[in-house]
Amino acid sequence: MTQLRYLLLISRQGKVRLMKWYTPLSSKEKTKITNELTQTVLARKPKMCNIINYSDHKVVYRRYASLYFIAGITPDIGNELLTLELIHRYVETMDAYFGNVCELDIIFNFTKAYDILNEMIMCDGSLAESSKRNILQTMTAMDSMDNHDKLDRVLS
C-alpha cells in the first residue's frame, strides 16, 4: 500500500504551507529534507516525470497552480501512480470543501487542511478513506459541532 513518509505543501516561492510527517524525524532532518526538496522540485521542468529519487526513498510531487504537493514514499512499497492519485484526491476533496480551493484558503484554514488530510490518510501514511463524500460528511459534522460548541460557549 502506498506509504507516505511525509507530505509537504510548498509554494512556488519555496514557502512551506503544510507539512505532515508520518515518520519520526528530528527537526534538523525535517529542515534538511524540506530545503533540499524545495530546491530540486522547484528546479524541475514541465514534461519531466513527477518522480524523483531522493536519498534512500522516492519523492512524488505534483503541481497545482502555485502549490507543489510533495510526498515522500517508501521505495519498494509505495505505488507512485497511486501516490499521485492520492495527492489528486486530496486536492479534489479540499476543492469540494473550500469551493475552488486556492493557496490562500490553505494558508488561512490550515487546520481544516490538516483535518481533511487526517481523515484521508492513516497514521502510517496509507490511505484510510478514499471516498470524498465520506470525508466531506465528517468534516461538515465536525464543523457543525464546532459551531455548536462556540454557540454553547457564548450562551454560557
Binding site: 500500500m1 519520526p24 521542468k45 516525470c49 505505488n79 492513516m122 462556540k150
Partner: protein
C-alpha cells in the same frame, strides 16, 4: 468576574477582553492576524524573522495565561509557526491542557498540535494516557466526532508500548461500535498499537481480521491497509488469511482496495510460493479487464515483486512487458519512469525477456527526462549485442557534448496565446558518471563479447578519459575504472597491443592528466613497463615519465620505479645501443631515484633503494667496460644483458579468474615453514655429483642464476654455477689453511646433528677440504642473518605449494573447461582474440552460490525464508514466546539472524572439509622435489611483485650456498 461587581465598578480592560472572547473577538492576535502579519512582513527574510520572533514571544506569554481560550489560540498559532521551522516542543504541556478542554473546538486545536509535535516527547505520552482513555469513551451521538479526533491523534502520535498496552482494551471495545466511522479509525489506531505491542494482535487476531468481512466498505479497506502494513513486517501470520483475501479480490470492485490487496499479496507470496499458482491467472485476468493504469501497474508490480515470474515463464513475462511497453510509449513521463523500473526487475529474472525491446530502450536513453534516462541505463545490459553496442555507446557519448532542449508547446489553454518555449536539458554530473560506468560495463561485459572493434574501444577509452576529467566528484573512481580497462585490454587482447599502448601513451601525455585524472595513470604506467617490448625508443619514454614524475602521487611513483626498470631492460637489449647512451639514461634514472630513497612511504623507499643499488653496480661495470672498449661500443655489461631482463623476463602474464588469489590465500597453512628447500638426499646427490672446492662467490655469479624460471632444470643450472665456482677457486691460496679450532668444530657438529639442513658425516667426507673452514665460518654468521630473512620469505611458499596441489587436483576439470573455451574461441576467431580468464582454483562453491544469490535477489527476505524449514503452521509460531518484548519488526530481524548464522555455520563446515582435503593432499607432496618443480608452472600464470621475485631468489641461492658450507665444515 461576577456581574454584580461589574455593575458597581467599571470593568477593567482585562475583564472586557475575557468576556468578548467567547464571541470570537480577540484583542490578542488571532491566527488570521498572524498570517496577515507574516504576509505583510515578507519583503526581506530579516524583517520576517524579527516579526516571527516577536510573535513567538507573544505566543509564549499567551500560552502561559490561565484562560483556556487564549491558550488554545496560542497553541494554534504555534502549530502554524512550526511550519516556519520553530520548535514547539516546549509548549507540550500547554497543548495537553488544551486537549483536555471541555470545548470541542479547543480540543480539536489541542489534538492537532499534539499530532504535529508530540512524537518527540515520550514523557508527555504518559500524561496523555488518562486523557485518551476518557476521550475514547463513546457516550451519545455528539461524541462521535470527539472520539474521531482522539483516534486521529493517536494514530499520528508515536505510541509507546506502555501506552499501547493501556489503551488496547478500549480500542477493541470500540471495534464493535455501531458507527463505521469509529470502527475505521480504530483499525488505523490498532495498526499503530500492534506495531508497538504485538501481543495484542496475537491475542485478538480473529477479532481483528473479522473486520475484513465488515459490511462497510471503508472499514474493509482500512483493515486491508492495516494487514498490508503488518504483513510487510511479518507476513507469516497472514498467510492463512489468503483464501479470504482471494475471495475479496474477486468480489471487490473498488480500485483502491484492489490495489491494496495486490500489494498485500505481493508481500504474502514472497513467503508462500504456492500462492502464485492461484493468483497468477486471476491477476492476468485483472490486467485484461481493468481500465485503470494504476491497477495495471500494480498487477505487474505484484507479479514481478511477488517473484511470480520464473526464469522460463516467457508467457507471463511477455504479458507484463507488453503492458510496460505500452506505458513507455505513453506521453506521461511518470508512466515511462515507473515502467522503466519494472522493466529492470523483469530483466534481472532473465535478461532474455528484455532483449526484444531494444528499440524501446534505445529511445528511453534519449528521453527528455534525465531520471528516465538514468533508469534506462540500467536496462542497457540486457539489450546490447555486438551489433548495437556502437550505436548505444555513441548515443550516450553524444549526451556529453550536445546541448538538448525540450520544446514545450503551450497551446494557450485559457492562459494567453499559444507559445513555444524551449528549456535546455541540464545533464547533472551524477548522470554523467553513471553513463561512464555503464559504458565501461557494457563494453567489458562477458569478457568483451560484444566488442568487435578494439581500435574503436581504444578511442572510446580516450574519449572517456577526457570526459571524466571534468567530473570532479568521481574522477578518482572513474580514472581507476578506465585504467583497469586499458590494462585488461592490454593483457587480454594480444592482437591490438600496439594500438592500446599508443592510446596509453596518448593518455599519459595529456595536459595535466596527473592532476585531473591521476588514478588512470597507475595501470597505464604498469602496462608501459610490462609491455615495454612494444616501445621502440624506451629511453624517450623513460625521460618523459621521469619528467612528469614530480607531480605524481605516491602510489603511482611506487609503480613507476619497476616500470622504468622494465623499460630500461627492454631498451638496452633491443640492440645497437651504445655504452654512452646507456650511461646517460642510467644517470638520469639514478638522479630521479636518489631523492626517493628517503621517501616517507616504505613501498617507494624499498623499491627505489633496490633499484639504485642495482643501477650503481651497472654504472660501475659500464665504467669498467669503457676503459676496455671505446664509447660507441654496443657491448653492454652482463648485468644489463642478462641479469636485468631476468628480473622481469618471466612468463607472459595471463588473466586469471576472479577470486583465485583469495582462494589460494585461504588454503594457506604454515606447515611449510619448516620444509627445507632441498631435502638432505638432494644435497647428497648434489655433492656427489660435483666434487667442488669451495671458493669465494662473486656478486655477478650470485645474480647470474637467480631467475626463477630456471628452477626446472635445476641440475644443469647448478652444474654451471659450481663449475664456475671451482674454476674461480683453483688458483686461490687460502692463507688460513691451518685454521683449526677443535672446540668450535665440536660444538658445531653437535648442532648440525640435530639440524636436518646439514649432511651426515659419511656423505661429506669426499667433498670436504680442510682449508675451507674459515670460509664456512664466515658464512655461518651470514647464515644466521639470512635465516631470519629466509624464514620471512618462506611464508610465501605455502600458498604456492597449495596452489600446485590444487592445480593438479583440478586438472581434469580445467581440461573440460578448456574444451568449452575452445568452442567459444572458435566463435570469436573471426573477430579479435580475447583471452579468457584462467581458472586455477575452483572458487568455493557455496560462496559462489551465495554471491549469485545476492546479486540476483531483489528482496533478500523471501529467499531466506523459503530456505527455512516451515514447521510453523499456527499463527504465531516462532514468535509466541519471543513476542513478549519485541515488535514484529524486531522479530523479523532476529529470524533473519538465526537463518543467516545457520547458513554461515554450514559454510564454515564445508570450508573446513575442503581445507582438510587440501591439507591431506599437500602433506603427500610435502618435502618432495616435485613441489618445487611445479612452482614453475605457477609462476607462469601468476603475477608477482618483481622485487619479491628478485630478493627471494637471491635468498634461496644464498641458502644453498650457506648450507653446503655448514655441511662441509663438518670435518
Amino acid at each position: 468576574m461576577s456581574f454584580g461587581l461589574s455593575s458597581n465598578n467599571a470593568p477593567t480592560a482585562e475583564v472586557v477582553k475575557q468576556r468578548l472572547r467567547p464571541f470570537g473577538i480577540f484583542f490578542e492576535k488571532s491566527l488570521k492576524d498572524l498570517i496577515k502579519g507574516i504576509r505583510s512582513h515578507n519583503e526581506t527574510p530579516e524583517s520576517l524573522h524579527t516579526f516571527l520572533t516577536n510573535e513567538l514571544v507573544q505566543c509564549r506569554k499567551e500560552a502561559n495565561s490561565s484562560d483556556i481560550n487564549l491558550k488554545a489560540n496560542a497553541v494554534l498559532k504555534l502549530a502554524y509557526l512550526e511550519m516556519y521551522g520553530f520548535d514547539m516542543a516546549w509548549c507540550n504541556f500547554h497543548t495537553l491542557e488544551v486537549m483536555s478542554s471541555e470545548s470541542l473546538q479547543n480540543k480539536r486545536v489541542g489534538y492537532l498540535a499534539a499530532s504535529q509535535s508530540f512524537h518527540r516527547d515520550p514523557d508527555i505520552l504518559v500524561l496523555m494516557t488518562n486523557l485518551l482513555k476518557k476521550d475514547l469513551k463513546y457516550a451519545g451521538k455528539d461524541d462521535m466526532v470527539k472520539v474521531g479526533i482522539a483516534l486521529n491523534a493517536i494514530s499520528t502520535i508515536i505510541i509507546t508500548p506502555s501506552l499501547a498496552r493501556d489503551i488496547v482494551d478500549d480500542l477493541f471495545l470500540m471495534l464493535n461500535s455501531s458507527h463505521a466511522y469509529i470502527r475505521k479509525k480504530t483499525i488505523a489506531v490498532l495498526l499503530k498499537v500492534f506495531l508497538q505491542y504485538p501481543e495484542a494482535l496475537r491475542d485478538n487476531f480473529d477479532k481483528f481480521t473479522m473486520k475484513l468481512q465488515d459490511n462497510d466498505i471503508s472499514v474493509v479497506s482500512a483493515t486491508v491497509s492495516a494487514i498490508c502494513e503488518l504483513s510487510k513486517q511479518n507476513p507469516w501470520p497472514f498467510v492463512p488469511l489468503s483464501p479470504l483475501l482471494y475471495e475479496l479480490l474477486l468480489t471487490v470492485d473498488n480500485n483502491w482496495i484492489i490495489i491494496r490487496l495486490l500489494k498485500l499479496f505481493t508481500n504474502l507470496s514472497q513467503v508462500e510460493p504456492k500462492l502464485k499458482y492461484k493468483l497468477l491467472p486471476k491477476i492476468v485476468e485483472l490486467m485484461d479487464s481493468t481500465m485503470a493504469t494504476s491497477v495495471l501497474y500494480e498487477s505487474v508490480n505484484c507479479i514481478v515483486k511477488g517473484s511470480m515470474i520464473l526464469e522460463d515463464d516467457y508467457n507471463t513475462a511477455n504479458k507484463c512487458l507488453q503492458c510496460l511497453n505500452k506505458f513507455c510509449q505513453s506521453q506521461d513521463p511518470n508512466l515511462r519512469y515507473i515502467s522503466c523500473t519494472l522493466f529492470y526487475k523483469i530483466g534481472i529474472v532473465n535478461s532474455q525477456f528484455v532483449s526484444d525491446y531494444n528499440d524501446l530502450i534505445l529511445r528511453l536513453i534519449s528521453d527528455v527526462d534525465i531520471s528516465i534516462r538514468s533508469k534506462a541505463l540500467e536496462l542497457l545490459r540486457g539489450i546490447v549485442n555486438e551489433n548495437n553496442l556502437k550505436l548505444v555507446v555513441s548515443t550516450l557519448l553524444k549526451q556529453f557534448v550536445n546541448e538538448e532542449v525540450v520544446i514545450l508547446n503551450n497551446n494557450g489553454n485559457g492562459r494567453g496565446n499559444g507559445s513555444r518555449k524551449e528549456f535546455p536539458i541540464l545533464i547533472p554530473n551524477d548522470y554523467k558518471i553513471k553513463m561512464i560506468r555503464t559504458i565501461i560495463s557494457l563494453c567489458s561485459m562477458e569478457n568483451y563479447r560484444n566488442v568487435t572493434d578494439f581500435e574503436w574501444l581504444n578511442a572510446l577509452l580516450i574519449d572517456l578519459t577526457i570526459v571524466s576529467q571534468d567530473l570532479i566528484e568521481a574522477r578518482d573512481e572513474l580514472g581507476k575504472l578506465i585504467g583497469l580497462q586499458l590494462k585488461s585490454i592490454m593483457i587480454k587482447v594480444p592482437d591490438v597491443r600496439n594500438i592500446t599502448i599508443s592510446s596509453i601513451i596518448k593518455i599519459l601525455t595529456m595536459y595535466d592528466i596527473e592532476f585531473k585524472l591521476s588514478t588512470v595513470l597507475r595501470d597505464c604506467i604498469w602496462s608501459l613497463g610490462e609491455y615495454s617490448s612494444l616501445i621502440e625508443n624506451g629511453e624517450v619514454m623513460i625521460k618523459i615519465l621521469i619528467d612528469k614524475s614530480t607531480r605524481f602521487n605516491a602510489d603511482i611513483k611506487a609503480i613507476l620505479i619497476p616500470s622504468i626498470l622494465k623499460l630500461l631492460s627492454t631498451w638496452c637489449n633491443s640492440g645497437n645501443i651504445t655504452l654512452s647512451e646507456v650511461k646517460d639514461v642510467i644517470t638520469i634514472i639514478i638522479q630521479f631515484l636518489n631523492p626517493l630513497i628517503s621517501n616517507s612511504l616504505f613501498e617507494i623507499q624499498e623499491r627505489s633503494i633496490e633499484a639504485v643499488e642495482f643501477l650503481n653496480l651497472v654504472a660501475q661495470s659500464i665504467d669498467e667496460l669503457e676503459v676496455e672498449q671505446n664509447e660507441s661500443s654496443t657491448e653492454l655489461p652482463m648485468l644489463l644483458t642478462d641479469v636485468l631482463p631476468s628480473f622481469f623476463g618471466g612468463n607472459e602474464l595471463r588473466p586469471i579468474a576472479k577470486g583465485t588469489q583469495q582462494e589460494l590465500q585461504k588454503n594457506l597453512t604454515h606447515d611449510y615453514l619448516e620444509t627445507p628447500f632441498l631435502s638432505s638426499d638432494d644435497w647428497n646427490n648434489l655433492f656427489k655429483q660435483y666434487d667442488i672446492d669451495e671458493g669465494c662467490i662473486t656478486e655477478s655469479t650470485l645474480f647470474d642464476g637467480s631467475s626463477d624460471e630456471k628452477f626446472s632444470d635445476r641440475d644443469t643450472f647448478y652444474e654451471n654455477d659450481y663449475s664456475e665456482l671451482s674454476s674461480n677457486v683453483e688458483d686461490k691460496d687460502n692463507p688460513f689453511s691451518n685454521y683449526n679450532d677443535d672446540a668450535t668444530i665440536k660444538n658445531r657438529k653437535e648442532e648440525q646433528l640435530s639440524n636436518p639442513f646439514y649432511l651426515t658425516e659419511s656423505d661429506d667426507k669426499a667433498n670436504i677440504q680442510g682449508n675451507d673452514i674459515f670460509e664456512h665460518q664466515e658464512y655461518n654468521s651470514h647464515v644466521d642473518e639470512l635465516v631470519t630473512i629466509v624464514k620471512v620469505k618462506n611464508t610465501i611458499t605455502p600458498s604456492e605449494h597449495v596452489a600446485q596441489s590444487i592445480e593438479s587436483e583440478l586438472i581434469t576439470t580445467s581440461n573440460k573447461e578448456q574444451k568449452k573455451k575452445h568452442k567459444k574461441h572458435k566463435k570469436l576467431m573471426k573477430k579479435v582474440k580475447v583471452l579468457d580468464d584462467e581458472v586455477i582454483v575452483q572458487p568455493d562453491q557455496s560462496q559462489l552460490e551465495l554471491e549469485s544469490k545476492k546479486s540476483r535477489s531483489l528482496s533478500p527476505i523471501p529467499n531466506l525464508y523459503s530456505m527455512k524449514p516451515r514447521n510453523n503452521n499456527g499463527i504465531f509460531l516462532q514468535t509466541k514466546s519471543k513476542l513478549g518484548s519485541f515488535n514484529f519488526n524486531k522479530d523479523e530481524i532476529n529470524d533473519l539472524n538465526v537463518i543467516e548464522s545457520e547458513q554461515l555455520e554450514l559454510d564454515k563446515i564445508r570450508q573446513r572439509f575442503q581445507e582438510q582435503s587440501l591439507e591431506d593432499q599437500s602433506t603427500m607432496n610435502d618435502g618432495d622435489e616435485e613441489v618445487i618443480i611445479i612452482k614453475k608452472k605457477r609462476d607462469k600464470s601468476k603475477k608477482k611483485s618483481k622485487t619479491k621475485k628478485k630478493s627471494k631468489s637471491k635468498d634461496e641461492i644464498k641458502q644453498i650456498e650457506a648450507d653446503p658450507a655448514g655441511a662441509i665444515e663438518d670435518k
